[in-house]
Symmetry: C2
Subunit: 413 residues, 2 copies
């Protein structure tokens, strides 16, 4: 007796593709850290906009140093010292040199810098050069770092410290980033109470509302948690309809009971096209997952029915909700870390039913050779198996299990 | 002519060990995401505190199902349906069964649950069981998830979504976490201007103040940026003294000119013991790094003189400042990802001078076999080589370079 039509994880993934990036908003470059850039940004100026020294030393004409060596140094006339932050008041003619510090402006006529290490100043008016310089050596030419009009960063990139630095270097102090996805979280379950309350027999404190909200924050979204919904079709319909208008994605968690699962399906379908696309995935944990989409204007809102078991809830979040939030955030490519995971050797045989994808929590341990992944067993109702885990591995649908010693890739939490 | 005594990266690392975790503060579990737990947290209660079903099905006495099969099912009297969130009003005696949903409370007398899949109800008072249940099957016993007094999470852990979930499940709604490190950032350099301004000849827009502040945020700290300091010993001394009192760590960036490097050393030493420990590291980029410590009470404040080149500044932050902030944050172990990096194959030969550690920026590319790391060359004065990079690899001191095709580990930015 099957209660729903189970599809492959691949089919389920297909149902969470094609969400449009959210509109952009303008934020100060400083507040943009970790946000997703909404448009290509090009440099408005050349960086640097004057030739700069990259070393402490002497600005010279390279030709004057050709053949210079420890035994036969070149001697040049020291004609000045380039002040920092100003154009030098002197030029460097044939046979001349100017003292310069890192970042200083190369004087007119000079085309290279000789590092202090290869020089000495026998008197205040002379510099001894013990090594030849090539043209352009230790000089950052105009636009060497960034040329006016050159792409600094493409839209869809997650902004990191160096990007903020590059923008400040060319005078860009505000940026267009995609709005963060707002994710409504609707907990259901007549057995649930707020964690602050003391459970009566048969009651349990709500876990998923809090762990899912935290997971939304970790994924760069803004959680909007709601009070616990009763197992009642009309209430679920009404609150779901409201959440779909307000939020960019809706997670309806639980329904431990079969009744609520049916209500969730009916409620999602009542909100409009295309409605429920997936009801049941051949994945463990998380089989009774529901994935729906509801169109509002030209935009699809995701509505995901998250299984009630706390482990299932978070694993389904990682597998299907994170990719949705990534698309809404406008991210063009998943981060390399998430894509590939940490390589580790499996500590023991891991059986798995063929025809089902297993997401197995693991604890990582470092030994002499590298990382060892210890699978954590235990029921998906047990949140403690998640707090003990460093990440998870995926045993694909077609595989009957993995042998001890297999190299696996661990996706970190 | 050497301007400072260069030490190995290993010696430099030794100088940034032994910083004490900052004091703790109490925050709501919800605000604790990503923060570092300041004490071991044990469960105040058993979770669950009543035996629960982990499946939709029928609560039975396992003994009544022994030998049940498709061909010879067991027939039990259906005596009730367990309501969600309440203690069942009935017990399960020999030959009896009660309908139960996932999360429901196991009735007195029952010791197993048979999944719906292996049952049918020929009439309203009878349930047919087609598979034997073992004692405890599909039952979460009292304390199976967490026992009262059991450790949920050890101090020093970074709090993740599942941890927040586990705490809410046992009624813990506020947590002691380490205070975030406050990091003062003092930019120096007479050539620097605020990014909002238009540079005159010889002037450049400040990069490091912004990229370092962003890096502090990425590392979980709170940046306190200051106005650009002039290259003046008294001002540097005064502002540094002030920053050391106020902040947990101080980054004094730049001093492109040798003068400021000397001033920085003198200013750090003037603040008290132990003063400057490192002045120059055999690392590229970042050789002219200064590492000092200043004791205040029983606590050491880190004072790091960060090289002025924007690439050097961020790489030295990753190599030496992040570890300091990790210790101040109270983190007990580095995250697995940072420790091991993403495996990739080097796309081409990478020369490196022996006796120097090279931090080489790379761009990652996925091909059929896995990840390829393309080294990005270019001067450490060019921030654009950092915006193009996905991460970096380390070529150790003793190595003369790496051959194309070598497996490397990429630390992501």
């Amino acid at each position: 007796m099957e209660f729903f039509k189970v599809v492959s994880p691949e089919e389920a993934m297909a149902s969470v593709r094609g969400f449009s990036p959210l509109p952009s908003e303008e934020v100060s470059a400083f507040d943009a850290i970790g946000r997703i850039l909404a448009e290509d940004v090009r440099s408005p100026v050349d960086l640097p906009d004057f030739p700069r020294s990259t070393m402490d030393g002497f600005a010279v004409r390279a030709a004057d140093t050709f053949g210079a060596s420890e035994s036969i140094p070149a001697y040049l006339d020291l004609v000045g010292h380039v002040p920092m932050g100003e154009a030098p008041s002197f030029g460097v003619g044939p046979g001349q040199a100017g003292r310069i510090n890192t970042g200083g402006m190369i004087p007119e006529g000079a085309d290279a810098v000789v590092m202090n290490e290869y020089t000495s100043t026998p008197d205040q008016a002379t510099v001894e050069i013990r090594r030849p310089a090539s043209v352009g050596e230790h000089v950052l030419a105009v636009g060497d770092d960034l040329k006016a009009g050159e792409l600094i960063l493409a839209g869809g990139a997650r902004l990191r410290s160096q990007d903020i630095g590059a923008f400040s270097g060319v005078g860009i102090i505000s940026l267009k980033v995609h709005r963060r996805p707002r994710v409504a979280i609707l907990p259901t379950g007549d057995e649930l109470i707020d964690p602050r309350e003391t459970p009566r027999p048969g009651q349990v404190r709500d876990i998923n509302r809090f762990s899912l909200a935290a997971a939304v924050i970790e994924a760069g979204g803004i959680p909007e948690t709601e009070d616990i919904l009763p197992d009642d079709l009309d209430t679920i319909k009404e609150r779901l309809a409201d959440a779909v208008e307000r939020a960019d994605a809706v997670l309806i968690s639980g329904g431990s009971s079969m009744g609520v699962r049916d209500y969730t399906v009916e409620a999602i379908d009542s909100l409009g096209e295309p409605g429920v696309l997936i009801h049941g995935i051949s994945i463990k944990p998380g089989k009774p997952t529901i994935i729906g989409r509801v169109r509002r204007g030209s935009v699809d809102k995701a509505v995901v029915g998250i299984p009630g078991h706390p482990v299932s809830a978070l694993m389904i979040f990682h597998a299907f909700v994170r990719p949705i939030l990534g698309q809404l955030s406008g991210k063009t490519s998943p981060e390399a870390a998430l894509e590939t995971g940490i390589p580790a050797l499996l500590s023991r045989n891991l059986p798995s039913a063929p025809g089902r994808e297993d997401l197995v929590r693991v604890k990582l341990e470092r030994n002499g050779q590298g990382m060892i992944a210890h699978p954590l067993m235990g029921n998906s109702a047990m949140i403690s198996t998640m707090t003990a885990a460093d990440g998870f591995i995926t045993v694909p649908l077609e595989q009957e299990g993995l042998k001890a010693g297999t190299e696996v890739r661990v996706t970190l939490f």
